[in-house]
Symmetry: D2
Subunit: 312 residues, 4 copies
Amino acid sequence: MYNFRTDLALERRDLYNKAHNIEKDIDGIETEEEKINDSLIISRVKVTNKQGEEAIGKPQGNYITIDVKNLKIAQNDEIQQASEAVTKELKVLIEKHINMEEPILVVGLGNIYVTPDALGPKVINEIDITRHLLHYMPEVLEKGTREVSAISPGVLGTTGIETLEILKGIVDNVKPKLVIVIDALASRSIERISSSVQLADTGIVPGAGVDNARKELTQNTLGVPVIAMGIPTVVEAATIAADSLTLFIKTAQEKGESNEFLNKLQEEDKYAIIKEILAPEEYNFIVTPKEIDSLIEKMKDIVARGINFAVN
Amino acid sequence: MYNFRTDLALERRDLYNKAHNIEKDIDGIETEEEKINDSLIISRVKVTNKQGEEAIGKPQGNYITIDVKNLKIAQNDEIQQASEAVTKELKVLIEKHINMEEPILVVGLGNIYVTPDALGPKVINEIDITRHLLHYMPEVLEKGTREVSAISPGVLGTTGIETLEILKGIVDNVKPKLVIVIDALASRSIERISSSVQLADTGIVPGAGVDNARKELTQNTLGVPVIAMGIPTVVEAATIAADSLTLFIKTAQEKGESNEFLNKLQEEDKYAIIKEILAPEEYNFIVTPKEIDSLIEKMKDIVARGINFAVN
Amino acid sequence: MYNFRTDLALERRDLYNKAHNIEKDIDGIETEEEKINDSLIISRVKVTNKQGEEAIGKPQGNYITIDVKNLKIAQNDEIQQASEAVTKELKVLIEKHINMEEPILVVGLGNIYVTPDALGPKVINEIDITRHLLHYMPEVLEKGTREVSAISPGVLGTTGIETLEILKGIVDNVKPKLVIVIDALASRSIERISSSVQLADTGIVPGAGVDNARKELTQNTLGVPVIAMGIPTVVEAATIAADSLTLFIKTAQEKGESNEFLNKLQEEDKYAIIKEILAPEEYNFIVTPKEIDSLIEKMKDIVARGINFAVN
Amino acid sequence: MYNFRTDLALERRDLYNKAHNIEKDIDGIETEEEKINDSLIISRVKVTNKQGEEAIGKPQGNYITIDVKNLKIAQNDEIQQASEAVTKELKVLIEKHINMEEPILVVGLGNIYVTPDALGPKVINEIDITRHLLHYMPEVLEKGTREVSAISPGVLGTTGIETLEILKGIVDNVKPKLVIVIDALASRSIERISSSVQLADTGIVPGAGVDNARKELTQNTLGVPVIAMGIPTVVEAATIAADSLTLFIKTAQEKGESNEFLNKLQEEDKYAIIKEILAPEEYNFIVTPKEIDSLIEKMKDIVARGINFAVN
């Protein structure tokens, strides 16, 4: 299979179509794009059968990408609009799997002490939970209120325990009918750092982020449907260099300064080449934008409000 | 039974002896005090039989209080000494229950976003965990390294899940032979706020802190021995007022300005009286010292280092 | 002069009237109270001449207290209402001294690392400053925009420099026509902790807070009018005890259990008595509510929004 | 003059020598390197006359670079060694300008709310200040204690006031004989991010960092000698891409896959080329390592301890 080197079903579809020189989606893949406004675009990819699965290497399910342009300078209005988009998309996904009153557990992966990895725990602190109220004082809640609980399990490096080991026991005891997992992940494109929310009702599979050690969090392992909300917050130096090299060769080509070597290079996966070059020098560090503190705060509002209005 | 209104076995012993006008410990209670230096005192109370249990209303087990005077102005040396005292006492307790290589899970109760309640989560971030290394790269560890894992489960108000429900599942999956639980709790004496560490190998029972809702965390519920490390970080206004009133009457008595009413009052539990007076006015709030941020940082070092050297 | 032991002109007026058994304000003092709603009350005291000054020991000027009940559980609506009240009162005070385009410097006193003392620095981070834009790109601002700058000078214990020494130089260079100083201060009443904003156009005078060392920040020392915004965030244990003792004696009196000693005591300043008792025992520490982190966040929103809409 | 595109006198010397194909330093430049151990290297460059100034475009003065390898994984020992190196070098620089008892003001530039820019304010919080004690209780200090004060003036975007405007007034009032300025700056080499401390007794000149707006902080503007301590904490994407492209071409050359175009390119300033390519795409963002929170904590210890032992 093609080495897509991206988790985004959307980007994989593009790469597949480009590689096969086709313009329309193949059978098994359905896509659509909705432009809410200049700074908010929603892309939906649906993998519907085995053929679709094989083409882009993602399990059958729904994959939605919400891109927020210029989050750095976004004000309350843009943040509110983005959170409403998250609510709308998430609600549709949830309703595909459970009904309105069935309990949901929200899981915030990540490390509160590492700014670019703190999104998950920060969102959990903002989730409007109801489970304890339903148990201890149901009279304060409207009839039919959904049971919502939330947990921030920490990271392997701090706990020594796989996320799955922690969640397995909690799911067994709390018995949600659906799990939403928030995960700060590595971007494979400098354009998407801290400006995208990716929803997928297929859960999280190994290799999706920078931490390969953790096991998959899916219906297979947790026993209930898992909606993954992935937010790119970091990027490898090799990705930045590869993207820049692509732009560089493109510019050289446009100016007629290219040659056979560079032309051929432009067709290849420059990430793999750059990664190999940087690795021995230990230069392939993972970076995050300078403004990450404020980006995380804004993204926290988008994701937390998005979830709160979708589940309650 | 006498309403001790304190969790400290030590203080209960004192109250029991005073109430019964006895000076030596009764059968079933063994106590000793060790003064390390002017600012570090260790008190050990052992409840050894049913009679002891009934006298002070605490289950059979070991209760150790480490008092650090003037933590506010403590420097590195004092913090190091205090952490060494914690290590020594904790090690003795651990060895009473498991052998040197058996796995331990450290649990930090509390809420990272509420300064006086953040001690547990902050300690967890400093624990030297080994469990993941033993699983994935045992070669980097010395032979015989104990398996240590750690978790900060959050609080009911943020998760909607009882601490016990979370821990039960984790203990079932991680299978430690002993659990250490760190808990910031309410002090029943203004002297002990943020200056004591209390160790008990009997776990945590309801009512121990300000949050009555949580269920007990003991060998009964978790299936393995539980060592509770309680650190007082808050105090009720009623406690401050009651302690002050006691001092006030004592002063009045010394100056010959007291009378029958006050003399009688001095014998009673002023906390209950004050609490009743303050309650309808909603004045009985819970307070913490102004310097709580720095006290928590220092206590975090004492407890985390204390545990790290005791378990590894 | 009577030892008022409170900075609040409002409370001093009450104490003065009670002590002199009068019900109407004397010449030199004008007061009014406005109840916005159940949780928002505004009191205005104006000292208009020498006689008023002498009566309550405060210089001529305007003193406004905005009380927000139950800030602990306040939601966005209540916070917005409170900030609008701050805006309205602050605007009136500002317009008494300067016109709409004259420059203002906002000063946030306090220590960002000490939660109950962090309000000032946190507010500064939220102030909509315009001074640099007016200098470097005035075209992005509407004509007539006021020049607003802001500074958080730190505390004597961290800088080694008196606040006045720092501000003097900045005022000389930045040349504002009015200075607004935000200051977290000690409450003299348990009711007002973290639930009041006090505005005074007479600046800050020594002894106003817990840190006596700092010099006064007034028109005398800075050369331009100074509006002080004081927010009580801490309270002495002696204040809690004194207030409780007052309630205690009142209850005893109501139940007919009092006597001459207590009756006489009820007339006196119990704070001074309690303080003397607690001092040698080193029990007179300064405390803050357990929920101080969230109280400071809410108060930060009230004060910052209040200022932003008043000055721009 | 050559566009050095680096502030480091050290790197400029290398570039100059390489460009002129010389191996020994020219008259006006003196350099030496000291390798303390595998992870700690100190380089000293001295510009001694006009010819040296012109060659590398830096004013006469002393430039010292302390490189700490692998700060990410550094433990207490390495941090202690690095801080001792800072102390030693800083002490020599200080003694070149003032005597042992003359007062020093330490200034921490930066924004406490932006992690990669928070180093300065965080260091200020750890400086052992003495000025207030010398004024109010000199008896607690040893005779001859130097007067040390410290300030964190904030950033233009938060205060609306140029750093120089703030410092000018403070220096006039506090009257130090020397100023030490700590500044998180942009690295021009991916190798040096968060692993170097650069000392220079020539102060800070415009364009040194990412914020061009601020004016120079030097003896010219402040009236006393200024020692700048610069710590690279961020890097432009263009720098990463340019460094990677250099490595990429080098690898191509070694494998015989290069050509005239690339060979020629290798001689040029790839940063300028890449910057031009990235700019229109708005891809030239500024990034910081994912581990920046912990890197800043470690660097804070190195710098604060380094200063404390150098000045006291």
